[in-house]
Amino acid sequence: MAAGAVVLLIVAFLIRESVPALSTIGIGRFLHDPSWHPAGEASAGTFNLVPMLVGTLYLSLGALLLAVPAGVASAVFCQFYAPGRVAAVYRRSMELLAGVPSVVYGFWGLVTLVPLIRRLEPPGQSLLAGILILALMVLPTVALTAVAALAAVPRSYLQGAAALGLGRWATARRVALPAALPGILSGALLAAARAVGETMAVLMVCGNLVQVPSSLFDPVRALTANIALEMGYATAQHRSALFVSGLVLIVVIALLMALVERWGERADA
C-alpha cells in the first residue's frame, strides 16, 4: 500500500534528479565532449563520460572472461568430479565467499594484488587489478548458479549418456552443459550485473585516472567509482551529470536482469 508508493517515489526521484543534466547538457555532450572536467572553469564544464564507460566495459568484460569459464569449470568439477565430501565443502566455501563484502575484496586486492602487479609494471593500480578482483567477486555467483543448473539436469540424460559409453568429460561437455545452458547463462548475466554495479573494489584497486586505458596496466576509472569520487563535492550541474551516469548504470543493469528473466522462462518452458 504505502510501501508500494515509497518504492515508486524512489524511482521517480532518481529520474527527476537526472532531468536537469539531460536537458541542459544534452546527451551528445556526454559522448563527445573533449574531456571530463565537470567542475571546469566557470560554467563551461565538460562532461565526456566515454573514458568511464569504456573503463566499466573493459572491467566487466574482462572479469566475465575470467569468471565464467572458471566458474563453469568449478561447477562441472563440483557436480561430476569431486567426491561427495569435497563437493559439499567446495559449495559451502563458494556460498561463504559470495557473502564477503566488496570492501574486503578491494582491501585485499589493494594490499596483496596491487603490489604484485606493481612489480611487473608500475603503478600497480590498474585495469588488470580491477579485472582480477572483479573476477574473484563474481565467480561464486557464476559457479553457484551453474551448479544449480547442472544439478537440475534430468538423471535420464546422464543415464542415457552412460549407457552409450560416454566418458565423464564427454557426458559433461556434450550432454549436461548444453542442457544446463539457460541456467548458466542467467548466472553469467547476474554476474555481469554485479560487475557493472560494483563500486568499492574497483575504486580501491583501479587507480581512478580518467583515461581510456591502452594497456592492461593502465589505471582506469569505472562509472561507479566516478560517482563515488565526485559526489562529495559536486554542485548543481555536476551533480546532475552524476545522476545521469547513475541512470545509465541502472538502465544497463535493469537490461541485464530483464534478460535473466527471459532466459529463466526459457529454462522452465
Binding site: S74, F107, L110, A254, M257
Partner: protein, 282 residues
C-alpha cells in the same frame, strides 16, 4: 559414472581439478591472509576501545556501536514497510491489478540499482533535502531503501507458501481479511521474512559507498541518531585507502565483519530448521 579411461577424459579431469584447486586456492589465500594478519589484532579491547591514531591503534568500539545503530534504523524502517508491501502484493493484488503490477516493476527496477546510486540518492534526499546531514539516521534510511526489495521478495514468497485452504477456511468463518492476515498468514510468512532479513542484513553490513556520504566518517561514539557515525565497512575502506600503516587493523576489522556475517547466516539457518519442524504456532 564410468571411470576415466581415455586421453581426453584424463586431460579434462586434470584441467578441471587444476582449475578448481586454483580457484579454491586463490579464495583460500584471501581467507588465510585475513586470518593471518587479522586474528592477532582482534581482542576484547579491540572490540571495545575507541580508535586512536587515525585508526592505526586502538579499537573499533564506537564503530561497532554506530554499525548496530545504522542497521537498527534500516530494519525498523524496512521491515514494517516490507512486510506491508509483501502482504499487499500477495493478498490484495496477486493477479494483474494495475497498482500491483506497477509496484512489482518498480521493485525489479530498484533491485537493479547499484549501491552507489543509492548513496547518491540518499545523500541528496536524506542528507540535504530532508536536512539530516551526515547522520546515522540518513545512513539507516538509505540502507532501508536498499534492503526493501530483498525483504519484500522473500516475505512475499513466505505469504504465497500459505495454502489457499487456510484463506478459504478463514473466510468461511467470517474472519475479516485483516484478522486472517494477523493471526494466520503472518505467522506463515515468517520463515520467508527471516530469509529476507538475513539477506538484507548481509547486504546492509557489506555496504560501504552509500554510507560514506550519508552516515559519514566520524569515529566518535554516537550519542544520538542525528550524530554522524562510521560503519565497519567504511572503517575498513578508510584504513585501507587513507591511512598508511593501517592495514593491520583493517584486517582485524574485516575479520570481525566476516565473523559477524557468518554468525547471522548461521543463526538464520538454525532458526529456519527449528521452524521447519513445527507446522504450527501459538
Amino acid at each position: 559414472m564410468p571411470e576415466v579411461r581415455r586421453g581426453p577424459d584424463r586431460l579434462a579431469a586434470l584441467a578441471l581439478w587444476g582449475i578448481a584447486l586454483g580457484v579454491m586456492g586463490t579464495l583460500g589465500w584471501i581467507l588465510v591472509d585475513l586470518l593471518r594478519f587479522g586474528l592477532g589484532g582482534v581482542s576484547w579491547s579491540f572490540l571495545t576501545e575507541a580508535p586512536r591514531d587515525a585508526g592505526r591503534a586502538g579499537g573499533i568500539g564506537p564503530i561497532l556501536v554506530s554499525t548496530v545503530w545504522i542497521l537498527a534504523v534500516s530494519l525498523v524502517v524496512a521491515v514494517p514497510l516490507g512486510v506491508g508491501c509483501a502482504a499487499y502484493l500477495a493478498e490484495w493484488a496477486p493477479t494483474g491489478a494495475p497498482l500491483g503490477r506497477a509496484v512489482r516493476r518498480s521493485l525489479d527496477l530498484l533491485a537493479a540499482v547499484p549501491s552507489i546510486v543509492f548513496g547518491l540518492f540518499g545523500m541528496v534526499f536524506f542528507s540535504q533535502i530532508l536536512g539530516l546531514g551526515f547522520s546515522i539516521l540518513a545512513g539507516g534510511l538509505t540502507l532501508a531503501c536498499m534492503v526493501l526489495p530483498i525483504l519484500i521478495r522473500a516475505t512475499e514468497a513466505g505469504f504465497r507458501s500459505a495454502p489457499q485452504e487456510l484463506r478459504r477456511g478463514a473466510a468461511a468463518l467470517g474472519l475479516s481479511r485483516g484478522a486472517a492476515l494477523r493471526h494466520l498468514l503472518l505467522p506463515a510468512a515468517v520463515p520467508g521474512l527471516v530469509v529476507g532479513l538475513v539477506l538484507g542484513i548481509g547486504r546492509a553490513l557489506a555496504e560501504t559507498a552509500a554510507l560514506i556520504f550519508t552516515s559519514g566518517y566520524v569515529t566518535r561514539m554516537p550519542s544520538s541518531l542525528l550524530d554522524s557515525g562510521r560503519a565497519l565497512s567504511v572503517h575498513i575502506y578508510d584504513l585501507a585507502m587513507n591511512v598508511p600503516g593501517g592495514e593491520g587493523n583493517a584486517y582485524a576489522t574485516a575479520l570481525v565483519l566476516i565473523v559477524l556475517l557468518m554468525a547471522i547466516n548461521g543463526t538464520a539457518s538454525w532458526a529456519a530448521e527449528a521452524w521447519l519442524g513445527k507446522g504450527w504456532t501459538r
